[in-house]
């Protein structure tokens, strides 16, 4: 029998440093929750984290916690807990997994970080609906549970251009958060500190972009699967010095890989764009599946969503509004298609895989004919796989493998005939 090749998984050396700063971040959060002089804010992943950090809050990101529940495969067991209290299995499985974990009193943080039992208790919850409405419901549930204020931004959606009218709107909404935050934190907003935080966010974002763009090299030195892990600091430590230092180190390592001609996947034959969320509980299997097929999944909408070129310390609040509105997920299909087309060219992509995540319609761009339109316009073939970010009951491994293998065979056929 033709033996299946076992892929070599190439370790990124900087991972150790990332684990260290993530661990420091979680312990700091835990300490803040216990201290009387520091307040804890919960924030959505592209919520006004800069404002919260500048006002001295320790910031917890429930989406990050939910992704950990997915990656540790705890989520599928916990989702039904939230289902029983009225949260449908059809809504965001980050939400249901996270609330389920709270109801059961368990957390992956407790496993990974001895001494931490659970996410820190919030003093305030701050959302931005630029992703979806689910975040607002999710945070409202906790606000009732902990009896603390829940405030946020109701973002405009589906626009092609970030017009000044929209920026005005979100700017005013951010400004309107300040009095409540000042009351909860007991501090008034220090504009110099906000400028500094915005500058650090900008720097972090710029380095993260450079990290992701190393994948333009052939072979690509990092994959989407590496990206989902290494974006951790860009998500939870945006606006801090640690994140900036970390991405400098990671970037240097990846540049060295390029200089050495060392690809993340052995003998890279095909280059794939991943549209949608990762299947957190299957990161390893998926990364091995593609590596076995000599395929680099090297760029994605998801990881690239933490690039915010609009942050500007000269104009902190307004530029925050602009950055939060610039997010891919909140834009129109016309914008999204244009963006993806540029990425396909820039990263020399052979095929696109759309992950249709059952419980996250906002991050699944395969439902309104986009794959067909882009395929027609670019000639680059696409595949849609059904799955989910956290709920493994929606994932069929056999179907995924057959679909992916058949797709790569299709690309091979094109190459043979070229």
């Amino acid at each position: 029998m033709a033996a299946e090749k076992q892929p070599a998984r190439k370790k990124i050396e900087s991972t150790g440093q990332m684990m260290k700063i993530m661990s420091e971040y979680f312990y700091d959060l835990n300490d803040a929750a216990a201290a009387s002089d520091r307040k804890v804010a919960w924030c959505t992943s592209v919520g006004p984290a800069e404002l919260l950090r500048a006002m001295g809050f320790a910031v917890h990101f429930p989406e990050n916690h939910a992704a950990m529940l997915g990656a540790t495969r705890m989520a599928t067991e916990l989702i039904p807990e939230a289902n029983t209290i009225g949260y449908s299995p059809d809504i965001c499985s980050y939400l249901t997994a996270d609330i389920g974990a709270h109801l059961k009193g368990i957390s992956p943080l407790a496993r990974a970080y001895p001494g931490i039992e659970a996410p820190p208790r919030p003093d305030v919850l701050v959302y931005n609906t630029n992703q979806c409405r689910d975040v607002q419901d999710w945070f409202s549930w906790y606000a009732r549970e902990f009896d603390v204020p829940c405030i946020g931004i109701t973002s405009p959606k589906n626009f092609t251009d970030v017009s000044e009218i929209l920026v005005d709107d979100v700017t005013r909404q951010i400004e309107a958060l300040i009095p409540t935050l000042e009351e909860v934190s007991g501090q008034s907003l220090d504009m110099a500190r906000l400028r500094e935080t915005v500058a650090l966010s900008r720097e972090c974002t710029e380095l993260w972009r450079q990290v992701l763009e190393t994948a333009m090299a052939v072979p690509a030195p990092l994959t989407f699967f590496d990206g989902t892990i290494h974006m951790g600091p860009a998500v939870v430590l945006r606006g801090t010095r640690q994140a900036v230092d970390y991405y400098r180190q990671l970037l240097a390592e990846l540049q060295q890989r390029i200089a050495d001609g060392s690809g993340a996947v052995d003998d890279e034959q095909y280059r794939i764009y991943w549209e949608g969320m990762p299947v957190w509980g299957r990161l390893r299997q998926h990364s091995e599946l593609f590596a076995r097929l000599n395929v680099s999944v090297l760029v994605s909408t998801y990881c690239s969503s933490w690039i915010f070129p609009d942050f500007d310390p000269e104009e902190p609040i307004r530029s925050m509004a602009r950055a939060y509105l610039g997010l891919f997920i909140v834009r129109s299909d016309a914008y999204k298609e244009q963006y993806i087309k540029q990425m396909l060219e820039k990263f020399r992509i052979d095929g696109i895989i759309y992950h249709d995540a059952k419980t996250c319609p906002c991050n699944s761009n395969s439902r309104y004919g986009m794959p067909q339109r882009l395929e027609r316009e670019t000639g680059i073939p696409s595949l849609v796989i059904s799955g989910d970010l956290n709920d493994l009951r929606c994932v069929s491994d056999e179907q995924t493998v057959t679909n992916v293998e058949a797709f790569i065979e299709q690309l091979e056929e094109r190459k043979d005939h070229a």
């Binding site: 033709a2 056999e398 179907q399 057959t402 679909n403 299709q410 056929e413």
Partner: protein, 261 residues
């Protein structure tokens, strides 16, 4: 035998198919068995059976490829395996060398595969994780109605009307069927509705372009499905000589090509 033979094995979730072809691509023998629970043993039995019918022995094998759900359990292959999508495409194109849309209705999966005039794949769709439109759906209905699978085809043909089934879901469809029985509807009309719903679910997966080729075990055993498809899409469809074997034939053709290279 002096000339080598080539083996294609398609191990589906429900049936295992083995074909033996010669170096010109002609079918010499084949065997089909339930895949069961011991895939390796079923594959071996099927292989020997097909070789016997082909008048060949294991020492005559010039190349062998496995495809399908259980392909990694097969030990006698010589070629790197390919998915059933590629093998069905190759098998159908062998029968009909022209641009086509292939509809494969299997025990567990449905596939729609599009090929251009050179046999190159333009794209494909597999059903989602759901039995709607598959052989498993038909089996479920036959069990519910307590009518052997083999009789369903003839009964459907006798229908004078059709009771449509609306649901996506096999279990809900069964409830709809039970409801029709309660209302005293003729069984033949219900079965026709079951067939109609199967085809409908498959047709919803993708558009049909160029010639339409039907294949898969379910089609092989239910010729009425073919007629009904033609009626529903308003044009004739092509049917390979052995609709259940196209995947295995494709695998054998690939094995032959691999041996030549």
């Amino acid at each position: 035998m002096t000339r080598p033979v080539f083996i294609g094995l398609d191990m589906g979730a429900s049936r295992t198919k083995v074909v033996v072809i010669d170096d010109q691509g002609a079918l010499l023998g084949h065997a089909v068995k339930k895949s069961g629970i011991d895939f390796a043993a079923t594959a071996a039995i099927c292989l020997d059976d097909a070789l016997l019918r082909a008048g060949a022995g294991r020492s005559d094998i010039g190349g062998a490829m496995a495809t399908g759900y259980g392909r990694s359990n097969v030990t006698f292959v010589t070629s790197r395996s390919k998915t059933e999508i590629s093998c069905h495409a190759r098998g159908c194109f062998h029968s009909f060398p022209e641009a086509q849309t292939i509809i494969d209705i299997g025990g567990q999966d449905n596939k729609i595969i599009k090929l251009d005039a050179a046999g190159r794949r333009q794209g494909f769709k597999m059903n989602r994780k759901c039995a709607a439109g598959t052989g498993a759906f038909l089996e479920e209905m036959s069990a519910r109605l307590d009518i052997p699978l083999q009789e369903m085809n003839n009964l459907a043909r006798r229908a004078t009307e059709m009771i449509k089934i609306g649901s996506y879901c096999t279990v809900f469809s069964a409830t709809e069927v039970l409801e029709s029985i309660r209302h005293g509807k003729p069984v033949a009309d219900i079965i026709k509705g079951i067939f109609y719903s199967m085809i409908q679910r498959v047709l919803e997966m993708d558009s049909l372009t160029e010639k339409v080729v039907l294949c898969g075990g379910v089609v092989a055993h239910n010729p009425y499905l073919v007629e009904m498809t033609e009626e529903m899409i308003g044009r004739s469809v092509l049917l390979p000589e052995y609709p259940q074997l196209t995947g295995a034939i494709g695998a054998a053709l690939f094995a032959r090509e691999d041996a030549e290279n």
